[in-house]
């Protein structure tokens, strides 16, 4: 293709990428380098129904002048990235000097907001993703084996968790695991422990979130694998039957190798999705025991009276970097496969 034609062909998508991908990311990175101007404060007397008090107040007019002069705020460089709300190198240093054991060191580092969120996010990603792939695969095998008449309804029910809005799904489950809900009360009766609460214990909350994540995402893997199963080469399958392979050996040597590229695809999508886990944390009110990177961004923007744009932007950039790191191995693998085939 001549260069000119190629350019004309690709220009619209290139422009769209620039407009919808590069520009927003660029602006987020830029935003993360600035913080609010130093506040000009005055002391004023405030009176109301409960009497008078002297309080400090922001001088709005003076602040306006500062903002007009420098709309982006004060340049802070990478300061926001390194502060104790994010990478917190200073605090890690302090913890290092004062902790005596590795366990103590890790415990304290994992208590820092970003690391706390990161460890949950990673745990969620690396537990939910493989479970989703395995569970989705077995659901697909199961559904594929059932006769045609009831296949339709079964597929529909299998897809339900994905159709239900994440927030609704998590709320429904949240009510069920309440200590007076069906699951919560059931577990209390089962373990004969009236103080057992799925919501209170961090471990149980994590498990609940994982289970929810698997429940919610398995249909996606199921649909992809089910579609893939329709194309498993019949000849090879029958070869294996004649060769003497058991049902499991046929799955292992014929079905799985055939579905492997699909599994890569599902893994890629799931890694990306799960790394951005957010709704279940809100739905389950799990912020006390489990926060994710996305949740940090949300709480920076919505938690306080004034949104902390720099913090949110810095966490966003770190999350983006995390996604890139996470996907690199899969992408390298895909690239190698591609080259080998070409």
């Amino acid at each position: 293709m001549p260069h000119k034609t190629f350019l004309a062909f690709i220009l619209p998508s290139l422009l769209a990428m620039l407009l919808f991908v590069a520009l927003p990311i660029g602006s987020v990175v830029y935003q993360s380098l600035f913080i609010e101007h130093e506040q000009v404060m005055t002391e004023v007397e405030t009176c109301g129904p409960f009497g008078c008090t002297t309080e400090r107040k922001v001088d709005a007019a003076a602040m306006q002048e500062l903002r007009d002069a420098q709309p982006a705020g004060r340049f802070n460089g990478l300061g926001t990235y390194f502060n104790s709300g994010h990478l917190a190198f200073d605090r890690i240093g302090q913890i290092w000097t004062r902790s005596e054991t590795w366990g103590g060191f890790f415990n304290q580092v994992m208590n820092l907001p970003l690391y706390k969120a990161l460890i949950f996010t990673l745990a969620y990603t690396f537990i939910v993703t493989p479970c989703v792939i395995v569970l989705g695969f077995f659901i697909a095998l199961g559904v594929n084996a059932i006769p045609g008449l009831i296949k339709g309804p079964v597929i529909f029910f299998s897809l339900l968790p994905m159709i239900v809005t994440p927030l609704i799904g998590s709320l429904v489950l949240y009510w069920m695991i309440d200590s007076r809900g069906i699951i919560g009360a059931g577990l209390q009766a089962l373990f004969n422990n009236p103080s057992l609460s799925l919501k209170a214990s961090p471990t149980l909350t994590w498990i609940t979130l994982f289970v929810y994540g698997i429940w919610h995402n398995a249909p996606f893997a199921f649909v992809v694998f089910y579609a893939g199963l329709q194309g498993v080469p019949q000849d090879t399958m029958e070869s294996a039957m004649v060769d003497g392979a058991s049902r499991w050996e046929r799955i292992r040597f014929v079905t799985i190798p055939y579905l492997l590229p699909l599994a890569t695809f599902v893994a890629l999508m799931q890694l990306m999705d799960n790394f951005r886990v957010f709704e279940p944390i809100v739905g389950f009110s799990a912020e006390a025991n489990a926060t994710s990177l996305s949740y940090l961004i949300y709480s920076d923007l919505r938690g306080a009276d004034t949104p902390l744009f720099a913090s949110a932007a810095a966490t966003s950039v770190l999350t983006t970097l995390g996604v890139i790191v996470l996907l690199t191995p899969v992408l390298i693998r895909t690239w190698r496969d591609f080259n080998r085939k070409a």
Partner: protein, 413 residues
């Protein structure tokens, strides 16, 4: 949307017109109200909406997300809303950004019905008009306390002793309830408790936090002691979810918001026998201090800055009509809150608020960085409450989180 608003407005005119005097506004203008969404506010906002008529247009937006949109909505010129219904906490961001205007002239001209206590003066200028007070108060089951020989608790130490008695006598397993859900609720509980110590939140004249002290630790330990007498799901308790526990007789003593009390003592509700025995008292004090461990809140309205004088005048008049004594003439509306408007006589639901005021409770600080401390508290105390770290560590984490945020926002160098 507009159509729906107009039709609701029309219905409201019909209802209100029959009961009381018509709303009459001098001059033309547009009234645009942004408010939180709960019953008492709805009564006010819907009265203001009846002022729609010749030359006067009224639109309202009642949403629980009001805090998140108010700054952006009032920053435009003209502002998207002329009236922002606020509380002492949520007025601060508007003041910080200079988005509201003084109302002294309008008060002089149209504010005959206002009482002096309703005027919120900042630096001598009237920046908001309060119309109701709110605070947490102690709800208790008079029957259960009587039967077990427990006096109405005046201190948190009493509350814990009462809980222990109820537990020992096998009346209830988890007799206490407080909103300990991490986030705003948990932060508010700590602020209330710490208020009871009388110590300041910040070092004098700076934004540096001062909670990392013995009073802070003691406040946390008290909360932990309370938590040990609450149900297994305590870390998800919030004020929305209290009612089923109460009506199910699983809880005998609860700290809860005055704005929700009406539902608990409603003898036409789901469990009249429990409602009948539900009584209200001032919040307990603790640690030998005499101050009720609570903050006082007011709800009121402020006038947007970026609006025309006509709109400002029309909006103010509409709110004045809404807040006229007619508002509290209806006993049902009067029962919804502790009103600060002229002509209101306290009802049982508001007793607690006035008892708190009388006992010397302080208002929630209107300091610009209080919200940040509140957020940091809400995010960092849960681990202590669940026994995963010490009170000192929890406060240290809170201070670190607050300092980071306040530095970024320019309050701390």
């Amino acid at each position: 949307m507009t159509k729906m608003l107009l039709s609701t407005t029309a219905v409201l005119i019909g209802l209100a017109g029959a009961a009381s005097a018509q709303c009459a506004i001098e001059g033309d203008g547009s009234v645009r109200i942004l408010a939180n969404d709960f019953q008492a506010l709805h009564a006010v906002v819907s009265r203001a909406a009846t002022c729609a008529g010749e030359g006067v247009e009224v639109t309202t937006n009642e949403t629980t997300e009001h805090k998140d949109i108010q700054v952006a909505a009032l920053s435009t010129s003209p502002a998207a809303y002329t009236i922002a219904v606020v509380a002492n906490g949520s007025l601060v961001p508007l003041l910080n950004e200079g988005l509201v205007q003084p109302m002294d002239d309008l008060v002089a001209k149209y504010g005959q019905n206002l009482q002096d206590s309703q005027l919120i003066r900042v630096d001598g200028k009237i920046m908001a008009i309060a119309f109701m007070a709110n605070s947490q108060m102690l709800h208790y089951r008079a029957d259960l306390l009587d039967q077990n020989g427990i006096a109405v608790p005046a201190t948190y130490e009493d509350v814990i002793a009462a809980a222990k008695t109820l537990e020992e006598k096998g009346v209830m397993k988890t007799p206490l309830y407080a909103s300990f859900k991490p986030g705003w609720d948990l932060g508010e509980e700590f602020i209330n408790m710490y208020m009871g110590s009388g110590e300041p939140f910040f070092e004098d004249g700076t934004a540096k936090p001062a909670i990392d002290n013995d009073a802070g630790v003691a406040a946390l330990e008290m909360m932990k002691a309370l938590k040990d007498n609450m149900g297994p799901d305590v870390m998800t308790y919030n004020s929305n979810e209290a009612q089923p526990y109460w009506e199910n007789s699983e809880v005998a003593i609860m700290t809860g918001w005055g704005s929700r009390t009406a539902a608990f003592i409603d003898e036409n509700g789901a469990t009249p026998e429990i409602a009948k025995e539900t009584k209200i008292a001032a919040m307990p004090s603790w640690g030998g201090h005499d101050i009720p461990a609570t903050t006082l809140w007011w709800d009121g309205f402020a006038l947007a800055k970026n609006i025309s004088d006509e709109d400002a005048a029309a909006s103010f008049q509409a709110m004045m009509y809404a807040l006229s004594p007619d508002l509290v003439a209806d006993p049902e509306t009067a029962g919804l809150a502790a009103w600060l408007v002229n002509g209101y006589t306290p009802t049982p639901a508001s007793e607690g608020v006035f008892a708190n005021m009388k006992a010397g409770a302080k208002p929630y600080p209107m300091t610009p960085y209080m919200g940040m401390l509140h957020t940091a508290l809400g995010d960092n105390l849960a681990e202590f409450m669940q026994g995963q770290e010490t009170a000192e560590k929890a406060l240290e984490d809170t201070v670190a989180a607050y300092t980071t945020a306040a530095t970024e926002a320019g309050f701390i160098k």
